[in-house]
């Protein structure tokens, strides 16, 4: 019987780890980010009675229960509906030039004969390798790209608020990132938007996996003033006097009705092709000039996942603080499901790397969110749920680490 410890964010009070991969039952599902506010209860990944997470269940189904030839036929049918004949763009591929979007855009153009326009919601702070890969995507991969960088003054303030109010510095970024695909589609008169893999691969509701189309709720809103950035609504930012509605142009989600009228559809390529992140790495190295990080990414063993934004490591650090699982857990869980590593190996790696602090860009992150180191740790410590963390000899220790 576990002690009666408080569990923040409405998380399950008993911490459990999937018997097949290494993810814990504290992992939050994808949420509509612009509705994200302080203190809200989190929906988490589902575990079945055998203690297996829904992502693993989905993967078993993926390996055995899906006819991928049929799915590819569906893809061909879908694409032929939208394929342009007059040289105009016919599909928007949102992405940063990482292995997944590199694969998606390149394969749509060169295998399926589409005319993609890639659109990038700029990372907060490009890493050197991220920038290089982005350029190579165009120069070597042979693709067109629009890089959209939002007003940094506002973005920084929103990120700062997100960090201190939600301990979720990436929240404003994710809002913009989700919107840009459909928003650009509408602007360019393109109907089809194609993402890479479905987040459901990682444990969102199973129903989302059988549906190739992204739920419109994620990127459209009928009440913009109520959209929240860093836990603060657009109305509040404007009322404070520093900003006007003009500044929020990049974040204003298209209205549902407008998207429907324009015929915009957002699909996941991962529904139509048997998605394997590692194979995306190989493909992008061979076709779009992608290069892995020359050194191991902090907090994990990997070198090629999510390497373009200096703020990225802090996203994972905050998941470690709030949910007890860091970057390594995410990477390792995915590789176990895709049969690249065994669960024992994953356990070893998680125990070795998950709690590693991302030192390299710490100073730049503090500058970006205009906070001192003291303020950083104060906020971090406030967000440690008692059912996940305990203090021993002045050090914070995780109560539970995954084991074999």
């Amino acid at each position: 019987m576990s002690e009666n410890l408080e569990a923040l964010y409405g998380l399950p009070s008993e911490v459990k780890f999937c018997k097949k991969c290494v993810i814990s039952n504290q992992r939050p599902s994808s949420t509509i980010e612009f509705k994200n506010e302080k203190g809200e209860k989190k929906k988490v990944i589902n575990f079945n009675e055998e203690g297996i997470c829904s992502a693993c269940v989905y993967h078993e189904e993926k390996d055995k229960g899906i006819n991928w030839n049929e799915r590819e036929d569906k893809l061909e049918k879908l694409l032929s509906q939208f394929r342009s004949t007059d040289g105009s763009y016919d599909v928007i591929v949102p992405g940063s030039g990482g292995k997944d979007s590199a694969f998606t855009a390149h394969v749509l153009k060169y295998k399926y004969g589409m005319n993609p326009l890639t659109v990038t919601w700029a990372p907060h702070l490009y890493t050197d390798i991220g920038w290089k890969n982005m350029q190579e995507w165009m120069h070597t991969g042979g693709l067109d790209n629009m890089l959209y960088t939002p007003n940094g003054i506002l973005h920084k303030e929103m990120t700062k608020n997100a960090f201190h109010n939600l301990l979720h510095p990436f929240q404003p970024f994710i809002v913009g990132q989700r919107i840009i695909g459909p928003a650009m589609a509408k602007k360019f008169g393109v109907k089809l938007v194609m993402y890479g893999e479905n987040q459901a691969e990682y444990g969102n509701a199973i129903e989302e996996n059988t549906n190739p189309i992204m739920n419109m709720d994620f990127f459209s809103s009928d009440d913009e003033m109520d959209m929240k950035f860093g836990g603060v609504s657009m109305k509040e930012y404007i009322d404070d006097g520093k900003y006007s509605k003009n500044d929020f142009a990049p974040y204003i989600a298209p209205k549902k009705k407008d998207l429907i009228d324009a015929g915009v559809e957002v699909h996941y390529l991962g529904y139509y092709l048997n998605w394997d992140p590692q194979e995306c790495y190989y493909y992008s190295v061979e076709n779009t000039g992608f290069q892995a990080n020359p050194v191991r990414t902090e907090g994990t063993y990997s070198k090629y996942s999510s390497i373009d934004d200096k703020i990225d490591p802090f996203h994972y650090f905050t998941t470690l603080i709030k949910f007890g699982i860091g970057r390594c857990t995410y990477d390792a869980a995915q590789e176990v499901r895709n049969d690249k590593i065994t669960r024992e190996e994953a356990v070893y790696l998680v125990n070795k790397y998950d709690t590693e602090f991302p030192d390299i860009y710490f100073k730049e992150f503090l500058e970006y969110i205009d906070s001192t180191e003291e303020e950083f740790w104060e906020t971090v410590d406030k967000h440690r749920s008692p059912h996940i963390w305990k203090k021993e000899d002045g050090e914070w220790i995780l109560r539970h680490m995954v084991s074999s």
Binding site: Q278, Y281, A292, P294, Y301, Y304, K340, I341, E345, Y348
Partner: protein, 253 residues
């Protein structure tokens, strides 16, 4: 006339042969013992087994593979990956390996190379060096299977390992390996000017011409091939014939 050697490099994870790019990625491409046997029957001169994930898991586990390989493969076998103690070397040799490749541990503790050479003989100690280009004619030594930079210059380190007593050097270009776009010729030119122990080039072979380009260097004694063989791009025999007929190289048929 002494011959230049064509070597197959087989990276292993558990019971699979894997092949990455830039020492990253674990794509499975076959079974280690079957592959070794196949290459032996096709005329390979030597085989190198590398434990691709020893660095991740602080272990090394090729003993079983070597045991089996020695039963069917009668050319020299080198083993590397996670060799950290004298005991590790002894175990590998007892399992049937002829040479042992050492990378990370030699950088951490250079005297390890000397001790190993004194105990087992320098002819069975290979210094495995992973190099990443940092600027024109400058390369940095990486350890932990290409994950951690060391700040050391590759040419200086190569000179040093010869002095420490190693018998051979295997030099892998991280930038080229797995890409099939050719070797880092400048790297091998730079090294071969400063060492008098055998040098094995590794990383980047995608077609016969690549190998011909690098092997014509007098200071190069052997090439280690992976992708070009594992993905069946060239057969060992075709490759050898090409090197002999077109480029006048001295190769064993």
């Amino acid at each position: 006339m002494n011959k230049k050697r064509i070597i197959a490099r087989i990276d292993v994870k558990n019971e699979h042969v894997i092949k990455g790019i830039h020492l990253e990625g674990l794509r499975k491409v076959g079974n280690p013992n079957e592959m070794a046997k196949k290459y032996y029957n096709e005329g390979i001169d030597e085989i190198i087994f590398m434990d691709a994930v020893a660095a991740y898991y602080d272990r090394n586990s090729l003993t079983e593979i070597i045991n089996r390989a020695c039963e069917n493969v009668f050319v020299p076998i080198t083993v590397g990956g996670g060799i950290r103690k004298i005991k590790d070397i002894q175990i590998a040799l007892n399992a049937g390996a002829d040479k042992i490749a050492i990378n990370t541990q030699a950088v951490k503790d250079p005297s390890f190379l000397t001790r190993a050479s004194e105990i087992f003989g320098s002819q069975c100690i290979v210094s495995s060096i992973d190099a990443k280009k940092i600027s024109e004619n400058k390369w940095e030594v990486y350890v932990d299977n290409g994950r951690e930079p060391t700040g050391m210059d590759v040419v200086e380190w190569a000179k040093k390992v010869e002095i420490l007593g190693t018998g051979e050097i295997m030099l892998t270009s991280i930038d080229k390996e797995g890409t099939k776009r050719g070797f880092d010729i400048e790297l091998y030119n730079a090294i071969s000017e400063v060492v008098t122990i055998p040098v094995i080039c590794c990383g980047g072979a995608g077609k016969k011409e690549h190998i011909a380009d690098v092997i014509s260097n007098n200071g190069v004694d052997a090439v280690a091939l992976a992708s070009i063989l594992h993905y069946n791009i060239e057969s060992i025999n075709d490759l050898k014939e090409f090197l002999i007929n077109n480029k006048n190289n001295h190769i064993r048929l």
